[in-house]
Subunit: 340 residues, 2 copies
């Protein structure tokens, strides 16, 4: 007899329902192992007593938490937000809950967050991109925590992933741009230091230039952090040089919208005098004026399938084969023939 009606335990429920704790546990976890009559009685008791299993005890006994962690650069970027939403929705369908941590694009914070989520009992981890200290992969290995890479696809990395080929997508876009007569090119890129996606996108452009016989020096690159204002500032810098580029690639749509707005402010006609291309196809791209030509990334599908793969990895203990999704070009109103 405790003092103030403590939260009931499995034991209490079992006693009240006149069964063993094992039976109550099974009612909750494997209902069809229990006879219907018994099950109904137990479930009613559970409801009546307002029983809710103790998380710690459960995690300890079962050695899993039904929790999957996602570690992303930031939630503010619509691209991750949408993928994450789909990821969580799919996780829910399978009875898993999502832990989220963000890194602000900083490798040190990412490493810390990975350890934190593992310590918090994440059964598996969603990571963005391949590039990180090998030590981290060793850690995950040692802890036996399955993980999966998204927002990138690189068969050579030889790890489970659900993503798309950043290089190929940007390569296709650059081909198209070059075919429209553009020769003086520029790229406003996210910082490439520890960002394999940004680097792959840049490489895609360079390879298309190689192929068209354009000197790589013709690509003027500015790296800048995420943000509309940063895109605008980078664009201003770009326009200071002579001769000006006629086509400006952007590492993502947010930078592209910044560039686009700045072009308007500088009275540069888009796409008549200058073309601007984004990457990601977030809502902003459609709403921008003129509507942005960009690369469509299947965020939602990526999130959904990543969730499915991770759930399988947790439940089956097996490793999933990499899945490549298609990123497609979306031609709107910011790309045109190079000016004469």
């Amino acid at each position: 007899m405790k003092a103030h009606r403590p939260t009931p335990t499995l034991h209490d429920v079992a006693k009240a329902a006149g069964v063993s704790t094992a039976t109550v546990s099974r009612c909750l976890n494997f209902p069809d192992q229990v006879a219907v009559r018994t099950r109904e009685r137990v479930m009613n008791t559970v409801r009546d007593m307002g029983y809710s299993p103790n998380f710690g005890a459960r995690a300890m006994a079962a050695r899993r938490t039904n929790t999957i962690g996602a570690i992303i650069p930031t939630m503010e970027n619509a691209i991750f937000a949408r993928g994450l939403q789909a990821f969580q929705e799919e996780l829910r369908l399978h009875g898993f809950t999502m832990l989220v941590a963000s890194t602000s694009y900083r490798p040190d914070i990412e490493a810390e967050q990975i350890r934190t989520l593992v310590a918090r009992g994440a059964d598996a981890l969603l990571l963005i991109g391949h590039e990180r200290d090998p030590e981290i992969y060793r850690f995950l290995e040692a802890q036996g925590v399955p993980w999966l890479v998204t927002w990138a696809f690189d068969l050579d990395a030889g790890c489970p992933s659900v993503g798309f080929d950043n290089r190929a997508a940007m390569y296709a876009m650059a081909q198209k741009v070059i075919a429209l007569g553009h020769r003086r090119l520029a790229l406003i890129s996210a910082e490439t230091a520890m960002n394999d996606r940004a680097r792959a996108r840049k490489i895609g452009i360079l390879e298309a230039m190689d192929e068209a016989g354009i000197d790589r020096d013709e690509l003027h690159v500015i790296e800048t952090p995420y943000g509309i204002e940063n895109g605008a500032a980078a664009f201003t810098d770009l326009m200071r040089q002579a001769p000006r580029p006629t086509a400006v690639f952007c590492g993502n749509d947010v930078l592209a919208v910044g560039a686009l707005r700045q072009a308007q402010a500088l009275h540069i006609a888009v796409p008549a005098d200058l073309s601007i291309m984004g990457f990601d196809d977030i809502e902003l791209a459609r709403v921008a004026f003129p509507a942005l030509t960009t690369v469509h990334v299947p965020h939602r599908e990526m999130g959904r399938r990543a969730a499915q793969a991770l759930v399988r990895m947790v439940q089956g203990g097996i490793t999933e084969a990499p899945v490549e999704l298609a990123a497609t070009l979306v031609f709107r109103d910011t790309l045109a023939q190079a000016p004469a």
Copy 2:
């Protein structure tokens, strides 16, 4: 001697370092209760063995998980994404991790998710808005899980909250619009059924109309789900009636941008012929053309302070007094004098 180098336990570390488990535990949790020499030895052992505390055992013994849950309608909406980002950043500073669940604006899913996050060991919960089945509050009470409401502020609700007064903000905006001569008003609102924020915003407009002696029937209201397309469709509906409204309030910026684009498509000059007002002040509002007049919501500060308050509630066991933040009007280019 186990077979394949199992993950070391506290016991293993203690033995290896030649101390008791309690000392190792203290090194990890309360370092300054342990002599420096001992601590260093222990911490080295921890590092060498790659020890990481077992989450379940820890949760069980400590009766807390250092995890706080956030339950929001959707991550795709930039408004929540930004607030959530700030929330998580602040949580991290205090050593807490964030669990996220989304409800798609559905009360039944919200109830389920609240139970799920509690079952997953959330030490406290962040909720959006006040309105929900009283049963849920009883459940949280019974489970002893502290919670806090954000994105709304209502002193009468008498519960811990960090938010702003939706009604007052919209009231201020409506006053301004009416002062500019607008009399035929419209509102494209999110669905108000189980959404106290949307309802409060609508009431704010109605109260301003009362005050100005405008009949409440002069406000034509359309409710629609979230989304640019929905905003556009609602706007089209609105324009079918005669006489047309001269000012269209929107429940959020996304709907407003949809309306704005549709106005352009219908060749209705904004703001010369018609004014459009949003709510939230997300990035989209600044980038839209013309830039959107809207209500600025202090997302980041709200998220940050909500995190601080919840951490205090978890650690101190005390209830926090409600905090009201200011939502301010941002006048850009979609509001002007009513046409003659």
